[in-house]
Symmetry: C2
Subunit: 255 residues, 2 copies
């Protein structure tokens, strides 16, 4: 199994604290030694940091932990390979372009029979079930919408029905963003929490680090964090149900 | 104007030496302060490092200079903005998927009338002439080839005719790769050189650094480097002519 990390915020926010907790699970407190990646959006642009090497030993992960990139949408992933070898093209998250936006996707779980998923022109580059599921979603979107749709929440509702199909093929926890919206879909293991004023202190589960968000934020900040397992021990994380999906924009839940 | 950097090699090779020279031009020995980026292929996968901040001051550039990522195909770029603001979505190189490969593109120059270039479903994310030219090429390829073509050199010959069209709209120096082939197209300013046995010493133009490639290589290594301006002072760089294109694979010129 892998671990997912995501963020949706109404102001550019750094994710160093949460990322630092997650990275410990990449070969240190967790068994996820088969690479990691994280994608940050800044405006409509995004940049990814990826490494097929264990996160806990990665110099690039070290840089990302200490270099506060401020973003309103983030998706990260640490991998324990089950389908597809350990190499860069199989390392999440995956980013592809659609409708003049960069879409970023990460998956935790395992699918059977995924090679039959129709992908049209959206051919996978690597050989994971995850990338193929992403290509399947993009292909279904381009089939259904001939041009860029105006009502994006309706698009994400349609994506949720595609996720239902994927969940029927195995375990399918997913984070997906177009840089504006962040969608989470739960098969068996996904949590989120929203931090807003009054901000308190948070204590990481995987590392000796606590952070007083009151000192780091302004009263109007709204920041939602998604994670496979809660990253902190003293906050109330919402555990998603099987088959549940949710959509956030600027930190706020809208579906 | 911007500066381009590229590499094609028959063995995974690090580009730290050349990149280090180029980065000095990003705000130090050159005026290219408006961001930089570099994309490395490892197998079919690729990863990019990008920053809209000046290269000479970037902590990420510092990491890339000291962290030898070994690759057989690389494209890098430092930017002096002319079309499109300084932001991440306008930062080269641009990477998009086609036919189950990641294609990476960087442009030096300036185009007029580029907003009329047809791009079909390949909508740009940012607002540069460069990204639009890339989308124009991808759209023309998907129009001409209904499925992944077998004869890739013929595809690059067709791309060269598209580059001729783009050159008629202004200045168009380009590097393009699918991770296997590296293509260079010259409008007015592009050089390359191939290093192979017997290897000698190279002295960087922009920084006090010389490297004895004899110590860093094996006798079978073939490494071609592309750059807007020669990066070393004691080697013979080939200066491309206006409208000339060339195609390399595994370090060797094939077209």
């Amino acid at each position: 199994m892998c671990e997912l990390l995501g963020m949706s915020a109404n102001v550019p926010t750094d994710i160093c604290f949460s990322f630092s907790g997650l990275m410990q699970r990449g070969g240190n407190t967790g068994p996820h030694r088969d690479g990691w990646g994280i994608t940050f959006y800044e405006g409509k642009g995004c940049r990814s940091f990826k490494d097929p090497n264990p996160a806990a030993e990665s110099r690039i992960a070290e840089l990302v932990q200490s270099y506060p990139i401020k973003s309103r949408a983030v998706i990260g992933h640490i991998r324990q390979a089950n389908r597809g070898g350990v190499c860069l093209e199989n390392t999440h998250p995956f980013t592809r372009d659609l409708w003049g936006r960069s879409w970023t996707f990460a998956h935790n779980g395992q699918l059977s029979g995924y090679k039959k998923l129709p992908v049209g022109q959206h051919l996978p580059i690597g050989c994971t079930d995850s990338e193929r599921a992403f290509c399947f979603i993009l292909n279904a979107l381009t089939e259904k919408y001939k041009r860029k749709p105006g009502n994006m929440p309706a698009v994400f509702k349609y994506i949720a029905t595609l996720c239902d199909e994927l969940r029927a093929m195995g375990v399918y926890n997913m984070l997906l963003t177009d840089g504006e919206y962040v969608m989470a879909y739960c098969s068996n293991n996904l949590h989120w929490l929203t931090r807003r004023a009054p901000f308190g202190e948070a204590v990481l589960k995987d590392q000796d680090w606590q952070l007083d968000f009151h000192k780091e934020t302004t009263p109007d900040d709204v920041v939602t964090v998604f994670a496979t397992q809660p990253l902190t021990i003293n906050e109330q994380w919402y555990k998603m149900a099987a088959g549940e999906f949710t959509l956030f924009c600027q930190g706020e839940q809208i579906l």
